[in-house]
Symmetry: D3
Subunit: 69 residues, 6 copies
Amino acid sequence: MKYGVRNDLRAVVKKVKKDEVMAQAEFALEGPLGMTCVISRDSMDDLDLKPGDQVRLLVKAINVIPVKD
Amino acid sequence: MKYGVRNDLRAVVKKVKKDEVMAQAEFALEGPLGMTCVISRDSMDDLDLKPGDQVRLLVKAINVIPVKD
Amino acid sequence: MKYGVRNDLRAVVKKVKKDEVMAQAEFALEGPLGMTCVISRDSMDDLDLKPGDQVRLLVKAINVIPVKD
Amino acid sequence: MKYGVRNDLRAVVKKVKKDEVMAQAEFALEGPLGMTCVISRDSMDDLDLKPGDQVRLLVKAINVIPVKD
Amino acid sequence: MKYGVRNDLRAVVKKVKKDEVMAQAEFALEGPLGMTCVISRDSMDDLDLKPGDQVRLLVKAINVIPVKD
Amino acid sequence: MKYGVRNDLRAVVKKVKKDEVMAQAEFALEGPLGMTCVISRDSMDDLDLKPGDQVRLLVKAINVIPVKD
């Protein structure tokens, strides 16, 4: 399986919260960093994410914004 | 300075390439992971990213896609 | 501080509303125009936007869609 | 014609540049502000934007990032 | 009316659900496929989508991710 | 394999073009419709898309914009 995205990061689910339309999950990445995603509630229900689940997080390169001090 | 984005990751520039309209940079994150961004050539010229530069990478939570095996 | 985005607009907060997962804020731009953003509820709580607050609104050029009659 | 986007701004084309795959246009908004968009070269050719053309710029609220000092 | 997006698909509304900030609609495309959109609640109220309504769905090419087995 | 996206469409590659930073592919969907994607050149090279290849196209619901006449 190959994805047309540059960023594909292994992660573990920490926490999930849900509204009727949207839902959010927090993840620990390999190493010291974490990441948060927001998806539709329906997609969250399909994925059925629970704390401890192993996932991969895809991020298109076009959606990453560099900031320099 | 506070940003309305969930994901704000420290990174170091590894490599940059440029077209007339778009440009791409590759980064090492803290820990074992890396990340790639694509921005406009004009933004890349303004930022003037060079290998070794320290930056922060912002990613809105809505642009992160979880995948589960 | 330099951002890898083309659009960086000064604005003043007019109105905020919140759900459990998402939140919305409306802004007045310099001049006659306004703008609306939707971010995660957690990001809204971190920013703590209130009517009258001065902010900057970042928009990546890739997320702007021109329409011609 | 009604669009499912919160931000719909009148603008005038200032400048266009093109690569084989992507293209960029710069605009003056009503008032003192300007904006830049990046779209595919094919979409730019279909729109045939030229300096002086009047357009509307659509931006989904989810793609606006507030920053507070 | 010409849009600076590559993908412009005719569709019929099947179902709508709403939160305070966000709303979701499901559509049948021409042919066997369907599609779902999430927009702000305010945009949904402006559009006033109801089952059976004919719409067009715009998707920027940059937001389409190809996956290959 | 489950994806946190609402839209997952089977498609066949029709045509590919590439710049140094970005690349574009056109697809036929099941039924009468087509779709175009723009990804980084590096992702296109990894995927190695060629006319006739079968793929799936993922589109987050948040990136679909309904328009009503």
